[in-house]
Structure formats: structure tokens, C-alpha cells
Symmetry: C2
Subunit: 264 residues, 2 copies
């Protein structure tokens, strides 16, 4: 004779069994999406740096822009989880506030090449200059030279997706400082106005940093609301000259490391 | 007779004048984009909460999902900068880790209505239940009841944009805790498997929080890589029962405030 269980326990056992069946069916039906453009923004709360993973879902080629050393494992796991082959680990410029993850990513994901601007003063496998293109699968990033924060600053533009990665040249309602490395307020003003503000209004702009919980902006917004770059060049230079920012706390560690892909 | 200036000074003056002309022309050519869907993710570094601004660029109607009290001014400024009318300030559930910004937003942006799930136990102008729709302009969010973290948890789905806002039901490679408020691991497992994992694989999922610098995920990724919810219900309940999490440090302040739109 079968032991008769209380009704509420039978109910729970049935629910458990049913849910396990549902879960198994749901998992089995899963397959990796295989077309289109992939985009994922990542964040480092210590240096407030944004890292970007871009990929071609068809060819599975991907690039990482501005990876941070301490998150190389996180980023590499995501690349592998998604079935991507990391073609390039790129920097918009030689950062002074964090150590780049490009070198470590190369060792975790063999075959990855590091990329940086020709005028950056840093070592890399591939150097890019104004007007040159970085390809991954069927997509490409057009490098535009946007000096001012540093001489080697590049903005990477993906026209196909109406987006651009501005590094420290243009931040959300702000811009990178111009008082160290090869900083020049005049150069930065010219870079932003001739290379970024001339992009179509609807293009989304992704900066290397944000300190106020903002994740993106558009060309239109910055042309209208950027509190520094909507000013005249003379006013802009005055603003930048009187910021009185503290000495960058990571610069003495970050620059020597970033000259060699973060592997100092 | 004109004073003859040194060549390099003439050059600089000319560049200044030219750049000011370029800047003026660039600003004048700017007009607000007027079609399509607008999306912006915002972050609170203190509670690691994500807030989402969604808008209809044509009608200029917008909603904010899970705004944080301390960022109400930031969020309201963005809404105004973009020329939006904030129709709803919504919560996915009654949060225990931060105070909601819905009440403050209502006072900064008159006309805004607060929205929360019927089963949340919190006051709001509009209550939504499973299967009901929140409309802003030509777009809509379908509310699906996903209890387990709390009884009133809703996942808001925007089928038109292939995206869903999962609150604390499903986090990136994780999930909300189930050991306080009306927490139930069994309910949470059923909610995620029947209401979220049944969405198309390519849907982007935006959670209420992330603690590792991740900003979004997809249905496919979580069905394949979520370390808790890919397990059987029995294993999931065991994992949740043995997390040994500390008492939520904000709960005694947040819950009384969040029962009344953060205006305690």
C-alpha cells in the first residue's frame, strides 16, 4: 500500500517536478543569436572607466575598446561566453588614470592584437592614424585623430551603427583635462568641433569615463548642453586653465605600464 | 599705419577667429532628433541601481524606471534637456536598498504619475497588474508579474524594442535575494522560468542592479550562463538558502519611504 502524503506536500512535489521539466525545455531551446551587431558597455567603478565590447554576431569577430587591467578576466569570460574571437584590444589613448587590460587580454585570449594611436607614445601590435580603419567581421571603426587631452587621442567612429567612442576628448557634459601629458585646450576645442560635433546629430557618443552615473550621450546633446564646449574658444581655454584639478593620483603608475600594454 | 604683429600671433588670432566661426555654425545647425525610440541607462554608484529613461522622440512622452531619490535632479534635468514630458515614474518593485525618486520627480516635473505593482504594498498614482500595459507615446511596456524577490515584483517588457526590465527578479548572472520582504525562492524560480526565460533569446534584459560593472544581458545568455537559474529548482532553493547575506543595511529607512513614493 502506498503511503498517502498530505495534499500540500504532493502539490509542492508536483510543482517541483513540473518546474524542473519547464526549466529543462527552456534551456534546450536556447541557441546563440547568429546575426547582427553586438554591443555591450562595461564599467570600472574604481576609475569610472567604460569599456566597450563590439562584435559581429555572424563571423564572431569582436573588439574591446579601453579595457581595464583589473577586469581583464571579466571581459575575457564575456568574450568566451558569447562565442567571440577577440581580434583587437584597443585603446582610445594612453590613459593616465588606470592600467590598460590589453596586455593581459592578449595572454588570456591568444591571437588578440593590441591597438593604439600612432602618436600615443605607447607600444602596441597595431598603430592607427587619422582616417585609418579597424575591421572586425563585417563592421569597421574609423579612427579620427582628436588630440588635446593627449596627442595620440583617437575617436573611433562606427558609421554603420551611428555611434562613436570619444575616449577622453569629449565626455558627457564635459571633456578630458588638458593640463598634463601633451594637453592643449586649443587643440581639444578644435578636435571636438571639427571631428565630433560635425557628426550627424543623432549619433550616440560613448566616452571613456563618466563620474555621475551617465552612460552615453548624443552629438545633438553635447552641441547644445556641453557646459564647456558650447563656449567660445577663448572662454573654453579660460575654463580649462582655471579647473585647478589635483595631480592625477594614478599617473605615475599608469603611464609607465600603459606604454607597454599594461604589462609593466 | 597698422602695427605689424609677429607671424605666430597672427596665426593664433586667425585660428581663434576661425574656430569660433566653426563653433557657431555647428551649434546653429543643431536640431533635436524627432523620430524613433529613445533609451538611456543611468547609474547610482552608492546602491548600484540602474535607472532607465525611455521616450518617444515624436510625441516627447517619456517614462523613468526605478529612479533613485539622490539622482532626481539629474534625471529631471535630462528629461527637460531632451524636451521630454515625463508621463510616468515607475518602480519594478518596492526597493529595500535605496529610496525611490518617484515622489521627488513628481514635484520637480508636475504632471508625472508614479506607478508600481498592485501587490507591492506601496502607494502610487497608478497600480499595474500582470498583463496590463503602460503606454508612453507610441510605445508600451507590458507588465508581467514576477514575484519571488517580493510579491509585487514586475518585469516590464517592451516587445517593440526586444527589451525587458527585470528589476530584482533576474540580475546579470544572478538574481535578487529571497530572504526578506515576501521572498520565496520557489516563486522566483517559477517567475524567471515562465515569464523571462520564455521571451525570445535575443531580447536584451536590463536589471535594477549590477555590482560588477555589467550593464545588460540577453535571455540567451542567462538561460545558458546564469549560475543559479540554470540549476534545478531543488539546487536553486539550496543555493538561495545558503547565501548567508547580511541584513540589508538600507531596508529600515528605504521601506517606510518607498511605501509613499520616497517622501517619508
Amino acid at each position: 500500500m502506498l503511503t498517502k502524503l498530505p495534499v500540500h506536500i504532493v502539490g509542492q512535489a508536483e510543482r517541483l517536478a513540473r518546474m524542473s521539466r519547464v526549466a529543462a525545455i527552456v534551456r534546450m531551446s536556447s541557441s546563440a543569436p547568429s546575426t547582427g551587431f553586438f554591443f555591450r558597455q562595461l564599467f570600472d567603478t574604481v576609475s569610472s572607466t567604460y569599456t566597450y565590447l563590439l562584435g559581429d554576431m555572424k563571423t564572431r569577430d569582436a573588439v574591446l575598446i579601453d579595457p581595464v587591467l583589473e577586469h581583464a578576466e571579466r571581459d575575457a569570460t564575456l568574450v568566451k561566453d558569447l562565442g567571440f574571437k577577440l581580434v583587437y584590444a584597443m585603446n582610445t589613448h594612453m590613459h593616465a588614470d588606470h592600467v590598460t587590460g590589453t596586455g593581459k587580454l592578449k595572454s588570456i585570449l591568444p591571437g588578440t592584437k593590441s591597438v593604439i594611436g600612432k602618436s600615443s607614445g605607447a607600444q602596441a601590435d597595431v598603430y592607427v592614424d587619422d582616417g585609418e580603419v579597424v575591421r572586425f567581421g563585417g563592421y569597421e571603426l574609423l579612427a579620427k585623430s582628436t588630440p588635446g587631452h593627449t596627442n595620440g587621442c583617437l575617436t573611433y567612429i562606427c558609421h554603420d551603427q551611428s555611434m562613436a567612442f570619444t575616449g577622453d576628448a569629449l565626455l558627457i557634459r564635459g571633456c578630458g583635462r588638458t593640463d598634463f601629458q601633451e594637453g592643449s585646450s586649443e587643440k581639444l576645442y578644435e578636435s571636438v568641433h571639427t571631428k565630433i560635433f560635425t557628426l550627424p546629430d543623432h549619433y550616440t557618443l560613448y566616452p571613456a569615463h563618466d563620474y555621475k552615473g551617465q552612460t552615453a550621450t548624443t552629438v545633438w546633446e553635447e552641441k547644445k548642453y556641453n557646459p564647456r564646449l558650447t563656449k567660445s574658444l577663448k572662454e573654453f581655454i579660460h575654463i580649462m586653465d582655471t579647473l585647478n584639478l589635483p595631480y592625477p593620483k594614478m599617473i605615475d603608475k599608469a603611464l609607465p605600464a600603459n606604454r607597454v600594454c599594461g604589462l609593466f
